[in-house]
């Protein structure tokens, strides 16, 4: 085996935070290396160092035995390193095609050769399953999942030797995940080295050959996946044993609370009727574009509905966000970067946004109470941050998600609408989130849990509904489902048209 990429004793610090501390790692040609670690362990930072977005403070890197010190992203690319970032890095105003070719000159004297580049673009888009979308469409108009696939396509058009994937599946539905894995397989067989970050261990097992674990910026273990068990990986990651990945909190299902009657909006959802009960965790599965996100947004009045009614405890809800919020609904947005969080504000500020009534009298704030409260939440959901006034943009992806979640919990709602709440969250914290959901249900609250990760739906929910093409096609009690049936149900309606 030949080490294509060698990283040795790399360190990187951001002010007082040491993101990487003497990290070493090797990646081999024709193999997939899974990079594993808790939120904030330094995974993204390591990949960004490789892709030339960050410069390491110390340490050396080499490709094919030759020293590798990328001066910037172009330099890295010219050395054959391509990357799919964790957070979307697309220019919303450009067409898909232009985004894919951004920074890559397929040109004569600065003039774009659109027809020539279109073949390459089309090929990459076909590979990731975007053949049905026009390459000329505006990128900002696409769904999050499509944008994620565009990012992958962007990495594919380059003739890279090493491709870095930073949680590419966190916003992809199952079918696209499969396609992505096929792509990875092909790349591997072509002899590329691939580094892949994921918080899903079974995904890692399916796709990767080797692993490397980071904890708090240190490398704590590496080797071949076949020689290590899941439990061992988890204890490497977390530094302790996690006894239960899907902790169950006993809760009792009560009477109906939220009645949705033939809810329809343009273009999705379509005629969705549901009755959600007190103390219930209701899971929603489906493919991309199935309308799960739209359903939640309609429930929260963020999007106009065409017809149908939503009642809470028998009372119809007014069509205004803050009215619904006051009535007891709370939404965790799928898109934490552009909608979920104010990136340039502090954690405290984000946590208190909209929750001011907890520490204010007659509109005046008690700043002490506010920062105490923020500290409590930071501890409670284990947000890894230097201090409560740190800017949210500086947090790792998973920790940002925790801030968004904590704000929703602080809101103390009755009905929790969670859109992909565990997206980008590490195993240990996921377990914590499931526990919180269980506790909420035990308190008699209702949780709607949208997820593309079927195992968690099956483990946590009381009932699971499947959406397809905007319709809620099937709802069953969880024990009547299994993964294959869920997949089939999600695909079924798609195929009969």
């Amino acid at each position: 085996m030949n080490a294509l990429l060698e990283v040795s004793r790399i360190s990187k610090r951001f002010g007082p935070t040491i993101a990487l501390d003497n990290v070493s790692m090797t990646a081999q040609a024709g193999r997939v290396l899974a990079l594993i670690g808790e939120n904030g362990a330094g995974k993204s930072t390591l990949l960004k160092t490789l892709s030339g977005a960050h410069r390491p403070d110390h340490g050396t890197m080499s490709i094919d035995g030759q020293s590798y010190r990328p001066a910037g992203p172009i330099d890295a690319r010219s050395r054959g390193v391509a990357i799919v970032y964790q957070e979307l890095t697309l220019a919303p105003d450009l067409s898909i095609e232009d985004n894919i070719m951004l920074g890559r000159s397929g040109t004569v004297a600065g003039t774009l050769l659109r027809s020539r580049q279109r073949q390459r673009v089309q090929k990459a888009m076909d590979q990731v399953g975007l053949s049905s979308i026009s390459p000329k469409a505006r990128t900002g108009d696409q769904s999050v999942a499509t944008q994620q696939l565009i990012e992958v396509a962007r990495a594919l058009v380059s003739d890279a030797k090493i491709i870095l994937f930073d949680e590419p599946t966190s916003s992809l539905p199952a079918a696209d995940v499969d396609r992505l894995f096929q792509i990875v397989d092909t790349l591997r067989s072509r002899g590329l080295a691939i580094i892949y970050i994921s918080h899903f261990l079974e995904e890692v097992r399916r796709i990767a050959d080797d692993y490397a674990v980071l904890r708090d910026g240190h490398s704590v273990g590496a080797g071949q996946l076949s020689q290590i068990s899941d439990d061992q990986i988890i204890s490497l990651m977390v530094g302790r044993d996690v006894d239960d990945l899907f902790p169950a909190v006993p809760h009792e299902i009560g009477s109906a609370r939220l009645d949705i009657d033939r809810l329809t909006a343009a273009p999705v959802p379509h005629n969705v009727s549901l009755s959600l009960r007190r103390g219930e965790i209701f899971g929603v599965a489906g493919l991309v574009g199935a309308g799960r996100t739209e359903l939640l947004r309609c429930l929260f009045a963020m999007q106009p509905t065409r017809s149908g009614t939503v009642r809470l405890d028998g009372r119809p809800l007014p069509q205004r966000i803050n009215a619904r919020r006051r009535a007891g609904l709370g939404l965790l947005s799928e898109d934490r970067k552009t909608e979920g969080l104010a990136q340039n504000l502090s954690i405290t500020e984000n946590l208190s946004m909209g929750n001011h009534q907890r520490y204010s009298t007659l509109g005046c704030l008690n700043l002490n109470a506010r920062s105490e409260d923020a500290k409590r939440w930071i501890e409670k959901v284990e947000i890894k941050a230097q201090h409560p006034n740190q800017c949210v943009a500086e947090l790792s992806g998973g920790n940002q998600q925790k801030v968004a979640l904590a704000r929703l919990l602080a809101q103390d709602a009755e009905i929790y609408l969670l859109d992909e709440p565990t997206k980008g969250i590490d195993v240990g914290t996921k377990a914590e989130i499931y526990r919180i959901m269980g506790q909420l249900a035990a308190q008699g609250k209702t949780v709607v849990f949208v997820s593309s990760y079927l195992p968690e739906l099956l483990a946590v929910c009381d009932r699971v509904g499947v959406m397809s093409r905007g319709r809620m096609t099937e709802v069953r009690v969880t024990k009547d489902w299994n993964e294959e049936e869920l997949m089939l149900a999600a695909l079924a309606a798609t195929e009969d048209e």
């Binding site: 979920g340 704030l365 800017c391």
Partner: protein, 357 residues
């Protein structure tokens, strides 16, 4: 415009943001004091000149307080200048036509009404801006560009295209001496403290706005809206309503600014205001306000106004010809912001080079 400081420097921001512009101001004062002492008349660093400077700074700072709120909320108000002179014109007309000499009995009521009218017009202007922006969801730049010319037009219609002079006797003494910077201590509010009343007003208002921004839910909501309106909406903040209030409140400061303007020149000319908006916005931006919203500081804005006026006064004291004054003002504005940036690690490439070198 969306460039932000590097994340690792941000922790320091919160502390330094407040002091950055102030340091720039101190630097500028020191520079001019030195130059004036060496080459000029030596009058720059005198208490009387300080009075003149703070008075003209107050004229900019008061409307700039409202502008700060608007800019923090992610908006902009190009109409501030003409709205201000519109209010001033309305006050002048009210004093010309509807008041009685200030020393007659009952004059106070009429005076109060005249001032209230001016203030009311300010609020109305702000409210119009706010309502159009939040109801139509158009960009504030174009809306206020539109209202800028509308307010100018309305002012000219009211003033019949000329300057409105009220009778001097109708103005009460406190109003006449609001912008007084002379040496007769009787004309100041506190005779032991010869600071122009206009400056005192600006300080009191500044403190009020700072408290509002930091210690009230409304203030935090403004920051939230400016940082990310989508998140604010998600969190149940009524973005449209809050925006409307912000502009209306800024209208109050425009009205108060108009009061100072009127007290300063004692007449009203609607077209005086064209161009003022840039000066007001410059004070906010010099003080650390970000036109992409979410950032701005009240103290900074006041300091920004002081910077502008100190430079202009310093150049006169040094008898630098007007043309060069323009050049110097421009250069100093750029250098002030540059220094402020440096201290926040701003040209990242430079710091990266220093760090790696």
């Amino acid at each position: 415009m969306s460039d932000r400081p590097t994340p690792n420097h941000r922790a320091r921001w919160s502390v330094l943001l407040r002091h950055g512009p102030s340091l720039a101001l101190l630097f500028i004062i020191a520079l001019f004091a030195l130059l004036d002492w060496q080459f000029g008349s030596g009058r720059f660093f005198s208490s009387r000149n300080a009075g003149v400077i703070v008075n003209s700074a107050a004229l900019v700072a008061v409307p700039a307080l409202g502008m700060t709120m608007i800019i923090i909320a992610g908006g902009i108000d190009l109409s501030a200048g003409t709205a201000l002179t519109l209010c001033g014109t309305v006050m002048a007309i009210a004093f010309r036509d509807y008041t009685i000499p200030a020393d007659q009995a009952g004059a106070a009521t009429w005076i109060a009404l005249a001032l209230a009218l001016g203030l009311g017009v300010g609020i109305l202007c702000g409210l119009i801006n706010g309502l159009i922006i939040s109801l139509s969801e158009m960009v504030p730049f174009i809306v206020t560009l539109g209202t800028m010319t509308i307010f100018l037009g309305v002012g000219q219609v009211l003033a019949e295209e000329s300057t409105v002079y009220p009778q001097n006797t109708h103005l009460p003494d406190w109003l006449r001496y609001l912008c007084y910077t002379g040496s007769n201590t009787d004309y100041y509010w506190f005779s032991f403290l010869p600071i122009p009343s206009s400056a005192l007003i600006a300080i009191v208002l500044g403190i009020a706005v700072a408290l509002l921004m930091h210690f009230t839910v409304f203030g935090r909501n403004i920051v939230a809206i400016g940082s990310n309106p989508l998140t604010a909406r998600l969190c149940g903040i009524r973005v449209g309503l809050t925006t409307t209030w912000v502009y209306a409140l800024a209208g109050v400061f425009v009205g108060l600014g108009a009061l100072l303007y009127f007290a300063n020149v004692k007449n009203g000319n609607p077209s005086d205001g064209t161009g003022k908006e840039l000066e007001i916005i410059a004070a906010v931006v010099l003080g650390g306000g970000s036109l992409s919203g979410g950032r701005g500081s009240i103290l900074g804005t006041i300091v920004g106004a002081l910077i502008i006026k100190t430079i202009s006064s310093g150049c006169t004291m040094l008898s630098i010809p007007n043309t060069y004054t323009h050049i110097i003002i421009g250069v100093i504005i750029i250098i002030a912001v540059l220094i402020d940036g440096l201290r926040n690690g701003k040209p990242k490439w430079l710091f990266a080079r220093l760090a790696s070198g």
